[in-house]
Symmetry: C2
Subunit: 350 residues, 2 copies
């Protein structure tokens, strides 16, 4: 029998953070695609549009007028999925009909006053303002809420309803599913190996060098061994850091540089503004602020849906929804492809 080659032979890989497996079927990449083709992302977005509720000076749906902001701008989401109060659901003894209270708040954060701007083509100091604001909001909402989820949906393909560069922050009184699992798996690992899982993982990836795309002085950008999306990646600090607000000045500057490079590589892949959902995960906050969270390590996750071209995405449907995620190209192949792309954005090349 042939010897095992991960780029040729099917296997499953384990994600120790989520306690889940992914099916890797590299032989399937040859499959032709006759299914749905997406629209190309819009490419001539007006810089300023008074009908766009995220622009400086615009009137939003609740009647509020945005200031003529020049850097970042944060406001309460006009359609919050989580409100600060409301009556709690009744308690039930039946294990099959369990409801629980949920409180929180949702904010929107604009990155820049111009709608045609994106993080990779912003200036370093403008990106630094975004990073500082992220840290500030995480700290501020973390005083009150157990979890602060900072995330960006980029591109219409990812359900983003406004092209203006922005992210969202949803803070909640409960630990959402993904984090409840990651809290448990990291704790179990820490108790067993006396080391934070993701600190150990980062060191190992740095020595293996098979999935690292960019290494900077303070950060590592890599394709995780257990990635499910074709070009899914993770961004991790080299130092053990619990939360965004704990990053020092030098780490923040370095983060801006590596983030611009990684987003440029993404955009360069198909010469479009690469769609994705991204978000930050760090130690829980609120009532957990003063607890021991040493098993946690700050990291950002990027989940881009595209597979073959600017218009053909990977569908996580049928088998994936009902059974288990499946991917065609391996994590190592994705890392290699990302490594080979220029880290200078195609729009800024002269």
């Amino acid at each position: 029998m042939a010897t095992f080659d991960p780029t040729e032979h099917q296997h499953i890989r384990y994600n120790p953070l989520k306690a889940e497996w992914v099916l890797v079927s590299p032989h399937r990449a040859k499959r032709p695609w006759k299914g749905q083709v997406e629209k190309l992302p819009e490419d001539n977005i007006p810089r300023k549009d008074s009908n766009n509720p995220l622009c400086p000076g615009s009137t939003r749906s609740n009647g509020e007028v945005n200031p003529e902001y020049e850097g970042t701008f944060v406001f309460k989401n006009d359609f919050e999925a989580l409100l600060q109060d409301g009556p709690p659901p009744e308690k039930s003894d039946d294990p099959l009909f369990q409801a629980a209270p949920a409180y929180g708040t949702c904010k929107v954060m604009c990155f820049h006053p111009w709608s045609d701007m994106t993080l990779p083509i912003m200036q370093d100091k403008e990106v630094r303002a975004v990073v500082d604001k992220w840290a500030e909001i995480n700290q501020e909402l973390g005083q009150k809420f157990l979890w602060v989820q900072l995330f960006e949906n980029r591109g219409a393909m990812m359900g983003c309803s406004n092209p203006h560069p922005h992210c969202q922050i949803w803070a909640s009184s409960f630990l959402p599913n993904e984090l409840a699992v990651k809290d448990r798996t990291q704790k179990e690992f820490y108790d067993k190996y006396k080391k934070p899982m993701l600190v150990d993982y980062t060191e190992k990836e740095l020595s293996k060098k098979e999935r690292v795309v960019i290494e900077s002085k303070h950060w590592v950008w890599l394709v995780p061994y257990w990635a499910v999306w074709p070009y899914e990646t993770m961004l991790l600090p080299k130092r053990h850091v619990l939360r965004l607000e704990d990053l020092n000045n030098e780490e923040r500057d370095d983060l801006c540089v590596i983030m611009k490079k990684l987003l440029s590589k993404y955009d360069n892949m198909f010469e479009i503004s690469f769609p994705y959902s991204m978000g930050w995960h760090g130690a829980p906050t609120g009532e957990r602020l003063k607890a021991n969270n040493d098993h946690w390590q700050l990291h950002a996750l990027y989940y881009p849906p595209l597979l073959r071209s600017a218009t053909v995405k990977k569908f996580m449907v049928g088998y994936e929804m009902l059974a288990q995620c499946q991917r065609d190209l391996t994590a190592e192949q994705a890392a290699e492809k990302l490594c080979n792309l220029s880290d200078v954005h195609y729009k800024t090349k002269s």
Copy 2:
């Protein structure tokens, strides 16, 4: 403070099968939508197209010629995500880099010789042939494989690359994530309450009547209390049944009738062929065929993506991917909407 009203006040609900919560924010349904609008599903699909590899008499990409089939037709997927053999990955001692062998097979099953046919407009006896074939394949592949996943991706929006009515069967040597979790949660419930979780759940839903959409002699179609997709539903037998092949003659006939009604209601909602992923979950097979699987109950799941209209779907992105699923309308509101729709397909109404 106001008393709790699930259609007004945010809360979280627990899914005991997946051991996960969903965030319900009914107040958010008023949010306007300015994001991506989907293409309408194709409506004049040619009945017979010799270029379509699923049609009778067509030549497929591997050179094989389909028979002139008149009922169902099953063949091996030309691009299998799971193959029957291959070398296994090397064993690793590192908990962060775990790979394991995966074997299996993937089949495609056409429901009908005509490409413009769909299950709700097929004749009862034609649907019965589909149900019998499902049972037969599950039994056949279940002799060898631990898990047989039968699923249908319907519509281009759900990654379906061919409009011809068909489903897929992926059988594997491993228990996929979703099923590993459901096997555990159902077992824990059974050990504690001495009753299969979904048998108990079905009885309770039948007495509450808040989320039941159709009840027939042998089946119940309902919106689960913990649904995440806007019109997510579950189809369950009233009797304790482990697997598709255990359904008796009368239950199979009744299944055809209720399935046609439920799919007609779906299609009638926006007068289009309603996109969805659906699949069957029953007791594990292969090495588990002879084990005690009394904690299991057969059920089908329907996950349709549409939210507001034929072209606006719910995006499970950002917050959902990184934290927890969120829904706007409640399960009870979805059930009511489905109840009020006719169960006679709009295309067959005279």
